[in-house]
């Protein structure tokens, strides 16, 4: 079992915790460590939630880091050692095994009432009773009545780890949904007041079940950390920070998180592209500043000051690859496009595979992203030949079909991996477009090491226009802030 505190007392333990945060990608500087120490000295250490919030306030700098922080905090400042059971105990059958049916009854009751505190205690009990892996057979059912710290030592010895999967598989909380809903409705035969009431309750219970699953997972991680050491648990069990998730491999929860991140980035990108020279040489006179300047010449306005120009709204043209090879990325592309749509007054959106179509009209205000993708693929002209991406031919069709779209005030943004199936990349057209537009940038979702390998023409395109690796939201943020000096 890992010792709760390393030698050197609380300061050393804190430094150890800081190290773990850094390894997880949260930049905590020495200044933050000092702040954290000051926080510890001001707070009552027995109030764990206050300590958690206090440390978070001193060490974190953006909201996306919170999930990682919470997971590591639970490892370094655990709620307790061993089972640390509360008042909710598992029901046991006559033969000493866990009575799963009674347990499910208990859980259904808690889900119905939404009693979070009791659910957390039950999650702890469930991991303790059902989650042990690699424990001797006699272990289960030993001394179950007590809320003891000496459990685990008795019976069949130490389990090798704790599995949330195993525990959840035994209880199967999702299958309780129908039952809890029936309870809420007031009996299996009763009817809902309206479909709306049913839907609200259904979603509510579903959220509770999801949060219960999270509780069990967190608890299993905590117990596992005691067995394997928290360093090992920190390496494997802690979620990735949202902005470091790869677009091509993100799961649905991460995608939802990405969506929240992309909207502010789009605004940021818009203001970067719109940035103009700050001090204008002509335009309306700024009377206040002119008067202020005249002070040095005794009130005679010698040097007029001009009003600062408002940042103009630029024209943006997006050119997006929606072929199969970038399926994961194109979802992100669509999110970015929709977010940009709200920031730019004049935007034209083009999608291509080996043909090219304009899809600006699909991204009206408040359009539904799920439906948009289907409509894009159904557009005639998107696929000209065989449905394999062909950048060269798509670029050619783009210039032929819409020759006047790209002009001297246009910023052109290309999104794609540059994998053109060994066909002619048509560099001349891209060079021509780059010459005619104000800015061109290419965002590539592939790791830089893979550019130019196989059928990728990314390196060759990269010589014509600036190409940026853009695999995660963090990288996108970097690209955006590096685009132009403001």
């Amino acid at each position: 079992m890992a010792s709760p505190v390393v030698h050197g007392g609380l300061p050393a333990h804190l430094v150890d915790f800081v190290g773990a945060l850094r390894r997880a990608g949260i930049a905590v500087g020495p200044g933050e460590s000092v702040d954290a120490a000051a926080v510890i000295s001001e707070l009552d250490l027995l109030r764990r939630e206050q300590l958690r919030e206090g440390l978070a306030a001193a060490m974190l700098r953006r909201s996306g880091q919170r999930a990682v922080f919470d997971a590591l905090f639970d490892l370094w400042f655990p709620l307790g050692q061993g089972a640390a059971l509360g008042e909710v105990a598992l029901p046991y059958a006559e033969d000493g095994s866990v009575d799963v049916e009674a347990l499910r009854d208990l859980l259904a009751g808690l889900l119905r009432d939404g009693d979070t505190a009791a659910m957390a205690e039950l999650a702890r009990a469930i991991v303790d009773g059902l989650g042990a892996v690699g424990k001797g057979q006699g272990g289960q059912g030993q001394g179950q009545g007590g809320g003891g710290g000496d459990r685990g030592q008795g019976g069949g010895g130490q389990p090798s780890t704790w599995s949330a999967y195993q525990a959840l598989n035994a209880v199967r909380p999702e299958t309780l949904l129908a039952r809890v809903l029936a309870d809420l409705r007031g009996g299996a035969d009763a009817a809902w007041d309206s479909p709306f009431a049913e839907e609200v309750s259904r979603r509510e219970v579903r959220d509770r079940i999801a949060s219960f699953r999270r509780m069990v997972t967190d608890e299993a991680r905590r117990r596992g950390a005691e067995v394997r050491g928290r360093e090992a648990a920190a390496r494997t069990g802690v979620p990735k920070q949202g902005d470091r998730v790869d677009f091509l491999t993100a799961n649905s929860e991460q995608l939802a998180d990405l969506r929240r991140r992309v909207a502010p980035l789009a605004r940021h990108l818009a203001s970067r592209l719109a940035a103009r020279r700050r001090r204008a040489r002509r335009g309306p006179i700024d009377l206040r500043r002119t008067l202020r300047r005249s002070m040095s010449t005794g009130g005679v306005p010698m040097r007029p000051a001009y009003r600062r120009p408002r940042p103009g709204r630029p024209e943006l043209v997006l050119f997006c690859d929606v072929s199969g090879s970038v399926a994961g990325f194109s979802h992100f592309t669509m999110m970015l496009v929709q977010a940009l749509r709200e920031q730019f007054s004049r935007i034209r959106i083009f999608c291509f595979v080996d043909g090219c179509v304009e899809v600006t009209d699909l991204f009206g205000p408040g359009s539904d992203l799920g439906g948009v993708m289907a409509e894009i693929t159904a557009r005639p002209g998107l696929i000209a030949f065989d449905g394999h991406s062909d950048y060269g031919s798509a670029l050619g069709r783009f210039r032929e079909g819409w020759p006047d779209v790209v002009g001297p005030r246009t910023s052109l943004l290309l999104l794609g991996d540059g994998r053109t199936n060994y066909r002619d990349p048509n560099l001349a057209v891209l060079g021509d477009l780059a010459e005619r537009s104000r800015h061109v940038h290419w965002l590539n979702p592939e790791p830089q090491a893979q550019w130019g390998t196989g059928d990728s023409a990314a390196r060759r395109y990269g010589q014509v226009v600036p190409m940026h690796e853009c695999r995660t939201a963090a990288q996108l943020a970097g690209v955006v802030s590096g685009l132009l000096p403001v």
Partner: protein
Amino acid sequence: MSTEPVDQKALFDSVDDVATRLADVGYIASTAVATTVFLADRLGKPLLVEGPAGVGKTELARAVAEATGSGLVRLQCYEGIDEARALYEWNHAKQLLRITAAASSPTRPEAWDETRDDVFSEEFLLPRPLLTAIRRTDPTVLLVDETDKADVEVEGLLLEVLGDFQVTVPELGTVVAAQRPFTLLTSNATRELSEALKRRCLYLHLDFPDAELERRIVLTRVPQLPEALAEELVRIVGVLRGIQLRKAPSVSETIDWGRTLLALGLDTVDDATVRATLGVVLKHQSDTERAVAELRLN
């Protein structure tokens, strides 16, 4: 980094004291809020509050000011705000007047020197919020609202003010805070604030509260609302936040909804009521359509 603040009485005794006193003035604080407010006061650091619109960021500053009997000085940031609007400005018109007045008087050799020293004195200084907050001798809460809307240069300005709580006016010298104001910065995270600014602050991400807390907030703000109704509203808003919407409803929307129902004299939430008043909670037509479809309201 900075010198020890002028010996100053702490505003709060403990985290629980923060929570109780904020509750007394009608602000129900979560553990996170109470803890960070307590720490910001104790450590003498500014508190940066980030989060979606309508979760009570600005309200928090107001509540802290009211609970501690401090004056609230507010700096509203916007695109293009500059030193002259945030810190101080010389009153040119008055300065010009003074110079003209001096010039019209009979010529004395020392008159010019007098005038020169005179026009750059306190009398001609127009303090803006940051300088006001620093010069105040009474307890002060300084609120820098929507910091993310301001340009990057203004952040540099804030660094001096928030790091050392002093302002340098070249003609007058450095003004050091008589007492350290309790400083709160808010941001909607539309752009990333600079690391340097963030490092000087404690960070609080204020998100939607959990159901229990939100119920208490709504009941505090709309005391006439029946408890069962408040609970029902909070439930529905919680579900709405789970749907992919362009703008998820915030606490302020829940409160507005409670007020609306009260004003309409309704004491139950049925389908017809929700359909009729959904516009209070959802601010986009597409969101309303989506919610109606997903929650089977039609």
